[in-house]
Every structure is written in C-alpha cells, then in structure tokens.
C-alpha cells in the first residue's frame, strides 16, 4: 500500500494496475465507525494477497460535531447523555455494544477513558501530514490515542507530540497548527463532502468511481477494489478498440 501525492488524473494505459487505485476517505477522528471501517478496509486489501493492486489512500476532513468545545469536561457518557438527551444507562449499553463490535475488528475501545473534544485541529494536522507523506501513520496514531488511550486530540501540544511519534517534524507541525495554514484545505474537504451529498462517515470513494458508505465488511472493500481494477481493464480495452 502506498500513499503518494496526486497532481493529476491517471493517464490512460493498457495496464490496469500501472497507477495505484485511489481510495479517498471522508472521516472524523471522533467517529467509532471510521476506525472500524479503516480496519475493515485494511483487512479487505490484505485478503487480496498477491492480487492486491497498489492503492493510494487519502483521508479527507469531516467534522461530526463542530460545536464541541476543545476542553469538554466530563465523561463520554455525560457528553452523549446531555448532548443527545439519551438516558445514561442507554448510552452505556450502546457504548458496550460498539465496544464489542470494535473488538471483533481487533480494536480496544475504551470509552471510559475517552476525552471528547473538537477535532478541527486534528484535521489540520492530518492535512499537514498528507503534505509530508505521513498521513496514514498520523491517522492511525490519532484514532488509537482517542479510542484506546484516552488521549487528547484537540490541543496543539498533544497533536505535535503525536506528529513527532510518527516521524513528522514537531516544530513544523506546531507552526502549521498555530498559523492555520491548512484550515482552508479542511474547509474545502468538508464543502466537497456536502457537494457530493455525503451526509455520514466513513465514506470511501474508490478510483473516483465507486462510493462505499459506512463500516462495510472487509469483503466489500476487497470486491470494490477488484471491480475498479477490472473497470480499468475494460476501459483500456475499449480505448484500444477505437
């Protein structure tokens, strides 16, 4: 699996795997299904084995709860019960169930530790990481920090530390977050999601052609990637026949 910057659409070719299959993902850190969906995607690609084409994965920003304060005080149950008006016992049962589903995907969700926060700066950090070729690493680091470690992903200093842990320059990340140079890119992602009619996350776009909504099973991701490769072969055949 590779992650490289894209500057233009792939040139037509007779080899359907000459360029990576693109997978664009709209996602938020504070989204339990996004982390589970990430794992399912990885499992689906791994299941293809030697038949797996090179893929180019790019994460895009989607802020689920933009009105969340950076320093929300209280537990996840408190936040959900107050924010959504649900009984605390019902929230606990729901969190227990999603924790069980996450465990089936090999993830250790700890909602008892989770620090709810605004994720806008995390999205800026992910754009900075994309520009420096470390977006997938930072995305995984932030998901794990948020859902498993009880880490804070809303404050600049914490994000700088996570960035350093995945090999990014901490001083550059701090400067980028403080001057907000990636804020317009975050806003553009969010606007583009709205323009595409994307209302929920995770949302995956495979090769600019197929849309996959939600934490689908691994086999769905494997199938759609294979279909994208087959489409390329069909397209190349049609071009060659003209």
């Amino acid at each position: 699996m590779t992650e490289t910057a894209r500057d233009a659409a792939p040139e037509p070719t007779t080899d359907p795997t000459a360029t990576p299959v693109t997978i664009d993902i709209w996602s938020d850190i504070a989204c339990p299904w996004c982390y589970i969906g990430k794992r399912h995607l990885e499992e689906g690609l791994a299941a293809l084995g030697e038949d797996a084409p090179a893929v180019e994965i790019t994460y895009h920003s989607f802020e689920l709860a933009p009105d969340t304060p950076v320093d929300f005080e209280g537990s996840e149950v408190d936040f959900l019960a107050h924010h959504k008006g649900l009984p605390a016992d019902q929230v606990r049962q729901m969190l227990d169930r999603v924790t069980g589903i996450a465990a089936q995907a090999g993830l250790d969700y700890r909602f008892d530790r989770l620090q709810h926060t605004k994720t806008l700066k995390a999205h800026e950090a992910l754009h900075h990481a994309l520009a420096h070729g470390r977006q997938l690493e930072l995305k995984e680091r932030l998901f794990h920090a948020y859902f498993t470690e009880g880490g804070h992903v809303g404050r600049v200093e914490d994000l700088v530390r996570y960035a350093g842990e995945v090999g990014l320059d901490e001083n550059e990340m701090r400067a980028a977050l403080e001057d907000g140079r990636h804020a317009s890119a975050v806003a553009a992602d969010i606007a583009q999601a709205a323009a595409y009619g994307i209302q929920g996350v995770p949302f995956f776009v495979v090769d600019g052609r197929y849309g996959v909504s939600g934490a689908q099973p691994a086999e769905v991701f494997a199938e759609v990637v294979q279909r994208a490769v087959a489409d390329r072969a069909d397209d190349a055949g049609e071009d060659g026949a003209r």
Binding site: R6, A8, L64, R181, A195, P202, S213, G214, V224
Partner: protein, 59 residues
C-alpha cells in the same frame, strides 16, 4: 516544503460537483447499509442485520 494540492476534485482525481447542481451521489454506491455517523449521531445496527431501517441511534 510542499503544501496540500487541494481537494481531490481540484487535483483531477474525482468528479467536480457544481454549486448549481450539487451531485447527490456522483458515485456508484456499493454495499448494503452499514453503520455511519451523521451529524454527531452514530448509528448502531440491530444485530446481526446491517440494514439502515433497522438501525438505532448510538451517540
């Protein structure tokens, strides 16, 4: 230091939606209904089904 090259559409990798006629879904949708988070609310499907109409609110 390189900066982001903009949105995928700007880079030519994805379809351009238009402001006048937003693309509700310019993509061919694949897969059955699966859990998503919408507007701060995450859905948990009734087990074991994954149909949207069987989902209940999670958060």
């Amino acid at each position: 230091m390189s900066e982001p090259t903009g949105t995928p559409a700007a880079r030519g990798a994805l379809p351009h939606p238009t402001a006048e006629r937003p693309a509700a879904s310019p993509f061919t949708l694949v897969g059955a209904a699966a859990p998503v988070c919408v507007d701060g609310v995450c859905e948990l499907p009734a087990e074991p089904a994954r149909r949207a109409d069987e989902a209940e609110p999670l958060v």
